[in-house]
């Protein structure tokens, strides 16, 4: 696609978004019940699918699919620019589930599940456990083979929107032999199966975006396995790589578009004449520009096939750090008035201008999806060639 064609595609996407982004969704979502949020998400999802803008990363032949990474980038940038709601309810379906099926699923699995995703089936991810966070490979939810099915028992946590999910991408242990990764198996689980219960987690922000899932001898047919028994770790890597840096292109663009909120906060406090505050705003704006440039450069690298191991960690760590800085400056500019709870804005992501809320929400990015500390390990060990952490250790009192 030439630069002109890309520009005209951008104009097309921009025009469609201007006509279709639900107006006033931020105020409508302030203190809204979860059901209203789900309804907004469903409407917006179907609109985007109808316009072919929800599945640009799917292969050609699927509705909306076959878009180049450059076109996908345009879509995400324009969604950020238009301040459209993020598709939080469908993110796992459209990215994690779909990409896992495309890359590792069988023909039958693709035919069975992908059309459902386009019709609005909600998927959740069951990877993390109470005792397996950063150390995911140590997870203990068991899947025992019984003839043509697995019996699953255990507990998953931090599953986004699991209370609304139709299906779950589950990583479970089928063996305790060998290295911990080798005993993991990847299953597609029907969330209406007997033995599943879901408990939303009430978060410090007032949201209940995440949930715990309990599995009590849940039957999963063997044909729902993705990849081989014991091959789940590799499949999980495909799942986690599915959004290919696009999320951070979008989020860092959103951060850049949100800078004026900080400017308005400064004005509202009557501090816009204070050169020290204005300089701090300028310094942060420069950091945000850098976060955006880094995310863009990462995607360009992927497009060119020049990605290095650890590059994705640089982008995520930098964004998480700058997002915190953004929120911290918001707290300073907002001052005492920012401490009045003006309610929770559902689906509003990280930079709402409700500064205490934004500050707390910024932890989503420094903890989830590989904490800052894990990213630093990856950068040091895989990108900078520092030696890896020794694998064995013993506490003195355990010795």
């Amino acid at each position: 696609m030439t630069a002109e064609e890309l520009a005209s595609f951008r104009a097309e996407v921009r025009a469609w978004l201007e006509a279709n982004v639900p107006r006033g969704w931020r105020s409508a979502m302030t203190n809204a019940p979860q059901e209203a949020f789900v309804a907004l998400q469903r409407d917006w999802f179907h609109k985007l699918v109808g316009a072919g803008l929800a599945t640009p990363h799917w292969p050609a032949g699927w509705p909306g699919g076959g878009r180049s990474l450059a076109e996908q980038k345009v879509i995400f940038e324009e969604i950020a620019r238009a301040d459209a709601p993020r598709l939080i309810l469908y993110f796992v379906s459209l990215y994690h589930a779909a990409c896992t099926l495309f890359e590792c699923g069988t023909e039958e699995q693709r035919d069975r599940y992908l059309p459902g995703i386009l019709e609005g089936a909600v998927w959740c991810q069951g990877f993390s456990e109470p005792n397996a966070g950063s150390d995911l490979a140590s997870l203990r939810t068991r899947a025992e083979r019984r003839g043509d099915r697995y019996l699953v028992s255990g507990q998953k946590i931090w599953s986004t929107m699991a209370q609304y999910a139709d299906h779950c991408l589950l990583l479970a242990r089928t063996s305790s032999e060998g290295p911990p990764q080798a005993g993991l198996t990847y299953l597609l689980v029907d969330m209406k199966s007997p033995g599943i219960s879901v408990r939303p987690i009430h978060q410090i922000t007032g949201d209940d975006e995440f949930a715990e899932i309990f599995f009590d001898e849940v039957e999963v047919p063997v044909e729902n396995r993705v990849g081989e028994e014991g091959g789940g770790w590799a499949v999980a890597q495909a799942t986690l790589a599915s959004e290919r840096g696009l999320t951070l292109v979008e989020l860092s663009a959103r951060l850049a578009h949100a800078l004026p909120r900080l400017g308005r906060a400064l004005r509202e406090r009557g501090l816009a004449e204070d050169p020290g505050m204005r300089r701090d705003l300028g310094r942060l704006a420069a950091r945000v520009a850098a976060a955006r440039a880094l995310a863009d450069q990462y995607l360009e690298r992927r497009i060119a096939g020049r990605e290095r191991v650890g590059d994705a960690s640089l982008v995520k760590l930098h964004y998480a750090v700058v997002l915190r800085e953004f929120a911290r400056l918001g707290l300073r500019f907002g001052g005492l008035p920012a401490h009045r709870d003006r309610g929770f804005v559902r689906g509003a992501t990280q930079e709402t201008g409700h500064w205490v809320l934004d500050f707390m929400n910024s932890y989503n990015w420094s903890i989830a999806g590989g904490s800052n500390e894990i990213q630093r390990n990856i950068i040091a060990e895989r990108l900078l060639g520092m030696p890896r952490e020794p694998r064995t250790w013993r506490l003195e009192e355990e010795a």
């Binding site: 800078l259 705003l281 520092m386």
Partner: protein
């Protein structure tokens, strides 16, 4: 990224590496002239390659990496000014520059005053001015852009001792240089546009110096952590130290990405080019300074010894923060741009 850009980088790295640490001006400058580095951004009509600063910054990154003393940035800015001059005022000077006679441009804020018939003022941080054949500078408010020959009357050049000894820093004082002894390169609107172009490109050049220097210093630091052993193991095994270098790598990667984004904005003449260039300079010099600060700490005692190059990077990094636009003013300019967007 173009193949040409990577070739340019490889070629520059070789030249700089062969010139010692810090890469000496005497070894780098003649090769830079011979290899035509100054032609990179010069328009084709002037015999140049007509490439952008997206390519040129690669050279400045490599010079930064090698702590090079060659006044390439200053010369590239002079070439830009001479090529953009009204009528053919700059043509013969451009020839001399391309033949290898440096023309100096101040790398710090500062402007001349036009008093009566004379040009006056003190310009700090002018690299290699003592060996230059002329100086390019502008009057306050960018009213006019001037070339002042080195041998014009009432030009005094000092070499104040700067902590950063990797570059040949000079201060130039003009004490009423007669206008007739100087060459006016541009006035009015044209001068304003040229001065804008020079200050933006100067910011890119210093940001590039910081990106390159930071990358090299990080490599030295990583090497130290890998080889230095305490408590029976390499320092690189201590997670507290690994995380600190991971942070440095992250800041430098972001600075590099923003530098190239800003250079692309400048080359494309985008409306946000100014802001991107100021942001790139702020981010890159802050990352370099942080890297230098941490490198000295992570090297331990050896970094405090003059034989080790750590201090050369530190002094250059701390000075880069102050060059190409006072950081407080740049931060204010960017902050005010955000405030304007806020309506």
């Amino acid at each position: 990224m173009s193949e040409y850009r990577e070739e340019l980088r490889a070629s520059a790295r070789k030249v700089v590496e062969d010139a010692g640490t810090p890469a000496s001006e005497g070894a780098v400058w003649p090769v830079a002239v011979e290899l035509g580095w100054l032609l990179t951004t010069l328009p084709e009509a002037r015999g140049g390659l007509g490439l952008g600063w997206g390519d040129a910054v690669v050279l400045h990154e490599e010079l930064g990496r090698g702590l090079a003393g060659a006044p390439l940035l200053s010369a590239a800015l002079a070439a830009e000014a001479l090529a953009g001059a009204e009528n053919e005022a700059g043509a013969s000077w451009l020839e001399r520059l391309l033949a290898g006679e440096p023309i100096a441009v101040p790398l710090a804020d500062g402007a001349l005053a036009a008093e009566g018939d004379g040009l006056s003022g003190r310009l700090e941080a002018v690299p290699s001015a003592a060996g230059a054949c002329a100086l390019v500078a502008w009057t306050e408010g960018a009213e006019a852009l001037w070339l002042i020959p080195r041998d014009a009357p009432a030009v005094a050049i000092e070499t104040p001792p700067y902590w950063d000894e990797t570059r040949a820093w000079c201060a130039v004082e003009l004490r009423g240089v007669p206008r007739s002894a100087a060459v006016v390169l541009a006035r009015g609107e044209r001068a304003a546009r040229l001065v804008e172009a020079l200050t933006v490109r100067r910011a890119l050049g210093i940001a590039a110096d910081a990106v390159g220097g930071g990358a090299q210093l990080l490599e030295l630091t990583l090497e130290h952590l890998r080889t230095r052993r305490q408590f029976g193991r390499p320092l690189a095994l201590f997670q507290a130290l690994k995380h600190r270098v991971a942070d440095l790598a992250t800041e430098l990667a972001a600075a590099e990405a923003l530098l190239h984004e800003a250079a692309a904005a400048v080359d494309a003449g985008r409306a946000d080019a100014f802001r991107r260039a100021w942001e790139a300079k702020l981010v890159a010099t802050a990352a370099y300074a942080r890297c230098a600060e941490e490198a000295l700490q992570l090297h331990g005692g050896i970094g405090m010894a003059v034989e080790h190059p750590c201090h050369l990077f530190l002094k250059r990094a701390l000075l880069d923060v102050e060059l190409a636009g006072d950081p407080e003013s740049l931060a204010l300019a960017v902050g005010d741009a955000v405030l304007r967007e806020a309506g």
